[in-house]
């Protein structure tokens, strides 16, 4: 990156700077006339000085104007000049804005690209809390400055020169007097400014530390709570805020001193004019007019001079920020950009032996983590690496994630240091113990290794194409990467398949090896699909629903599920579900809003349930108040069982005190809605409150019919109705197969149903398609919705899917339970039989199934051979085996 701001500006925006400057200079002309026009209007148009009527405009003899016409012509001329002047201003501003924004975009992009190329050890010293404000906030003023970096000094300087020249012609002595103090100002102010800048630097540093602290607080929040560390964090934060505060106060003081000095020096001019000029006038050596002219000239020059001084100050400020930020983004040992961008001319296979000679790796303090390590690993081989520290670094060096301090590593005869990331990132895979999962879908995480460049162009309509082309121009203008992020990046061939449809199969195979397929299947069961896009799968789910139902009918499990039957009341579902006979897609039909929805109330009215619901609501509320009134507000029962939250209970209590069972109809609308909300939540078999009797149920069934028949067209989309013959798009797959509710209070209902369902899914071969639905599962921030074992399994599957030549695993199964761990170990050893696998293991005994065992101690190889041989003759290994 350019270390100097001006070099950066000239290198990337010279053309724009020239255009802006030319525009600025060109605006001089209209500006001059714009300034002089009022004088002409007053003197000539109104005063009639130096004018003879009728006026012959431009002496062409075409137009002859009388006094009023001439005034009007001058006034319209003024208006025109205003327009021209403003048009120039507009164009200059827009141009400056665009130029600045493009440069800012380039700068931020470059900084981000640098971060992506930071050598790994850099991140031990640089936290994201420091990087983020630098890329986002600190460079922001740079953009604003770049737009005017050349134009402003040229324009204002030119203005100053013009006025100065004008003065010199009028009275050279006074002209010199007017600028006499400028050099002093130019000398003193930067001196004062220097300290302010140093303070500004301090402030930025402190702010970075602040943001670092906030970041740490967020990541370490559990530790803080468990050790009651909040107060210390608060105190620490307060101290840092204090540092910022005092720096700011000092900046204020100094800034206003500078302002004071500036204004004082500015006013020294008139002081000299009045005193010295006045003295000379009294002595008769100068006339009054000259003094006045000088004062006026000085005043005229004040504005551009001030602009110039301001610009100078901003420039220093921005330059410093730029240089400070850029210097932070140039750590040692960074690879060139081509490392990530350059596509290899032809595929570079790394399916060959690994050769490590005299490998030394120092940590950031200069201590050797790996010390003169030499090793040869044949191909194909499954290698277990055991022993002391340095194993993780060793694997990272083998995967070319870290560059050795000294020594050489080559795979298949190719030096890793000479291979770009575009080769090693595809042919090698590394999984650490805490592999990161990105905040996206599970599939996006899984396919990460297949998406290294756009493979298939995006299908675009006319509008999208135009938009994209415009975007492309900007990308080029800002030096950004030209790849279309919305194209299809998935390289299906890298996963060993030809068609997108087959990718799922390859992915499931990888999931199976990582023992992750069952988890993803469960995600898929709880997932939803859009039947418009996946009609075939929706049909198969419906098929499963039918199969499941017929299995229920002929077994002794029939009463474990209460299916959705349009003609029957489902006693295991809420009253609301029974009424809507569907699931609410929008909030208006949410169970909390039904009681205040006019349409729903109208339907209830028609079947005579409206008053009845009010009554039931009253009874339920009474029961709830009776049951829960004595409990403390934070009691778990509220959450688990109550219809009414502990916050609302007092309100209901008070409402019940006001309401009499006989005059419920006279309650205010809001009160009635509150009571009527309660019956909608009742589940007959679960709550057993006994309020909804046979008649009510019949009435609700009737209401159900009226509801679906009279529902206005524009609200049909708000409910997904239960329909035995159709897929319900807003329900999960498992609910679509179940198509009903699991009965409450039936012993082992879940297990029995689960077994039948699993059987149905197996018979219909639905398991794989449902796993693919699981790819849409949103894993949350850093995979927070997965447990740590699932995250590791996902990381392993991700590494396998791209079919790398060598897979490096560094204790990547540490979070797995022993059984899954054993299964993954077994499956991987089997799958990598004819390929490369280097696995750094915590437990030495697990190395037995590997072809080769490498023992590392103190950064050196102290054992290398077959497990049995090492166990027999290698002292270090024997010791490890014993424990």
């Amino acid at each position: 990156m350019e270390k100097n701001l001006y070099k950066f500006i000239i290198r990337f925006s010279l053309r724009q700077q020239i255009i802006i400057t030319l525009l600025s200079v060109a605006s001089f002309g209209p500006y001059y006339y714009y300034l002089s026009m009022p004088k002409t209007i007053i003197n000539e148009g109104i005063g009639g000085k130096h004018v003879t009527y009728p006026v012959d405009l431009w002496g062409l003899g075409v137009l002859h104007l009388d006094k009023v016409d001439y005034l009007l012509v001058l006034c319209f001329g003024f208006l025109l000049l205003v327009l021209v002047q403003q048009a120039f201003k507009y164009a200059i501003n827009v141009f400056q804005g665009i130029a600045g924004e493009r440069m800012l975009r380039r700068l931020r992009y470059d900084l981000y690209a640098q971060v992506l190329r930071f050598p790994l050890p850099t991140f031990r010293k640089t936290s994201q809390g420091e990087i983020i404000p630098m890329v986002i906030a600190e460079v922001e003023p740079v953009g604003g400055f770049i737009g005017e970096s050349f134009a402003l000094p040229i324009f204002q300087g030119g203005m100053l020169l013009v006025i100065f020249g004008f003065l010199v012609i009028q009275n050279p002595v006074m002209a010199m007097a007017a600028v006499a103090l400028y050099p002093i100002q130019f000398y003193i102010v930067p001196k004062l400014q220097r300290r302010v800048r140093a303070l500004g630097k301090e402030r930025i540093k402190n702010q970075r530390r602040l943001s670092d602290r906030i970041g740490e607080t967020v990541t370490g929040v559990v530790e803080l709570h468990t050790h009651d560390g909040s107060n210390r964090m608060l105190a620490d934060f307060a101290k840092r805020l204090g540092i910022s505060y005092w720096i700011r106060v000092e900046i204020f003081q100094r800034k206003f001193v500078i302002k004071f000095v500036n204004n004082f020096i500015q006013q020294l001019g008139p002081f000299f004019f009045y005193s010295i000029g006045g003295y000379l006038v009294i002595k008769g050596q100068m006339d009054v007019g000259t003094v006045i002219a000088a004062v006026n000239a000085h005043k005229e020059m004040a504005a551009p001079w001030k602009e110039l001084l301001n610009h100078y100050q901003t420039r220093e400020d921005v330059k410093q920020k730029y240089e400070q930020v850029v210097s932070n983004f140039e750590p040692e040992g960074m690879p060139p950009p081509e490392d990530q961008l350059l596509e290899p001319a032809e595929p570079v296979p790394l399916n060959g032996p690994i050769n490590v000679s005299s490998l030394t790796l120092n940590d950031d303090q200069g201590n050797a983590v790996l010390d003169n390590l030499s090793l040869t690993i044949p191909w194909p081989a499954r290698v277990a690496v055991v022993g002391g520290s340095g194993r993780e670094d060793f694997l990272q060096v083998l995967a070319r994630l870290q560059m050795p301090t000294r020594g050489k590593v080559s795979i298949n005869g190719r030096l890793l240091s000479e291979l770009p990331e575009t080769v090693t990132g595809r042919r090698l895979a590394y999984v650490g113990s805490a592999a990161h999962i990105f905040n996206a879908t599970l599939g996006d995480n899984l396919f990460l290794g297949l998406r290294y460049r756009p493979v298939h162009e995006r299908q675009m309509n006319e509008r999208q194409r135009k938009h994209f082309e415009r975007e492309l121009v900007e990308l080029k203008a800002s030096g950004n990467i030209l790849y279309d992020v919305d194209a299809d990046w998935t390289d299906y061939k890298a996963a060993g398949v030809d068609k997108p449809e087959d990718l799922g199969r390859a992915a499931i195979a990888a999931l199976r090896i990582a023992a992750f397929d069952e988890d993803v299947f469960q995600f898929g069961m709880r997932g939803t699909i859009n039947p418009k896009q996946r009609g075939e799968l929706a049909d198969r789910v419906l098929q499963a629903r039918r199969a499941f139902r017929s299995r229920l009918a002929d077994g002794d499990i029939a009463d474990l599920v209460e299916g959705w039957d349009p003609e029957r009341y489902n006693t295991n579902a809420t009253v609301a579900e029974n009424l809507l006979f569907g699931t609410a897609r929008e909030l208006i039909f949410d169970v909390d809003n039904l009681a205040s929805d006019p349409f729903t109330l109208g339907v209830l009215e028609q079947v005579g349930l409206r008053d009845r619901f009010l009554r039931i609501g009253y009874e339920v509320a009474s029961t709830m108040v009776e049951l829960f009134a004595d409990l403390p507000p934070d009691h778990e029962f509220f959450q688990q069982f109550s219809f009414i939250s502990s916050d609302d209970l007092p309100d209901y209590k008070e409402l019940l005190a006001r309401a009499k069972p006989d005059n419920l109809g006279q309650l205010a609308d809001a009160d009635r809605a509150r009571l009527m909300t309660l019956p909608f939540k009742l589940i007959l078999t679960r709550h057993r409150l006994g309020q909804i009797d046979e008649n009510d149920r019949a009435a609700i069934l009737q209401a159900r019919k009226i509801f679906s028949q009279t529902l206005p067209e524009d609200r049909r989309g708000s409910i997904a109705f239960f329909d035995p013959e159709h897929f319900n798009a807003s329900a999960s797959i498992v609910d679509n197969i179940l198509f009903g509710r699991v009965a409450y209070g039936q012993a082992q209902a879940q297990e029995k149903i689960g077994a039948v369902m699993a059987d149905v899914i197996k018979q219909l071969q639905l398991r794989d398609p449902i796993i693919e639905v699981g790819f849409n599962f949103d894993v949350g921030i850093s995979g927070a919705r997965l447990n740590s074992g699932q995250r590791q399994k996902l990381a392993i599957a991700r590494a396998l899917l791209k079919q790398p030549d060598w897979v490096m695993l560094s204790e990547s199964t540490a979070s797995l339970d022993p059984r899954s761990h054993a299964a993954v170990l077994q499956a991987l050893l089997e799958q990598r039989k004819q390929a490369g696998l280097v696995w750094s293991l915590q437990r030495v005994s697990e190395a037995e199934g590997f072809d080769i065992v490498v023992v590392i101690a103190d950064g050196r190889v102290v054992g290398n051979g077959r497990y049995a041989d090492l166990a027999a003759s290698n002292e270090a290994f024997k010791k490890m085996l014993q424990g």
Binding site: T623, F637, Q746
Partner: protein, 153 residues
């Protein structure tokens, strides 16, 4: 069966007989009613005890494992309370309970049971009273059995 009927049933059980109906209602409302088919197991001997059961309807056998196979030691009927020993004493189930006919139970979880005791001391007192009565009866039985034994010799 509604909550109120369940409360009536609960009141017939000595352990709950003297607890005010409102508390019993809360107990019924916060407990799950579970139906077992004939042959279903309510719990196995040796399982950790996580709940006690009130039998609302149907019958169940209490079986104890013996070297010669399971031995039926008791038959549970309506209003019986079973499984309380495991949750009170924190020991594994001392017997297996199997439904003989269709069995309807109210499952009172260990958590709920203890919470009720802490929240409503009168329940604890009631339980103490019932347990003390049982102990008293057992002691009396033992005394008379010992007396018989002594009389014989």
């Amino acid at each position: 069966m509604s909550i109120n009927e369940e409360v009536e049933l609960l009141r017939r059980i000595p352990l709950f007989a003297k607890i005010e109906p409102a508390k019993l209602k809360l107990l019924a409302f916060t407990s799950q009613r579970i139906t077992y088919k004939p042959g279903d197991t309510v719990f196995h001997q040796g399982d950790p005890g996580d709940a006690a059961y009130v039998i609302f309807g149907g019958e169940a056998d209490v079986l104890v494992d013996t070297p010669s196979g399971p031995l039926t030691v008791a038959r549970l009927k309506q209003n019986d309370f079973v499984g309380e020993i495991a949750i009170l004493c924190d020991v594994p189930r001392t017997a297996t309970v199997k439904a003989v006919s269709e069995l309807v139970t109210l499952r009172i979880t260990k958590d709920l049971f203890f919470r009720l005791i802490t929240d409503f001391p009168q329940i604890a007192i009631e339980i103490m009273r019932v347990l003390a009565q049982r102990l008293e009866r057992t002691t009396a039985d033992l005394r008379s059995a010992t007396a018989k034994q002594n009389g014989k010799t």
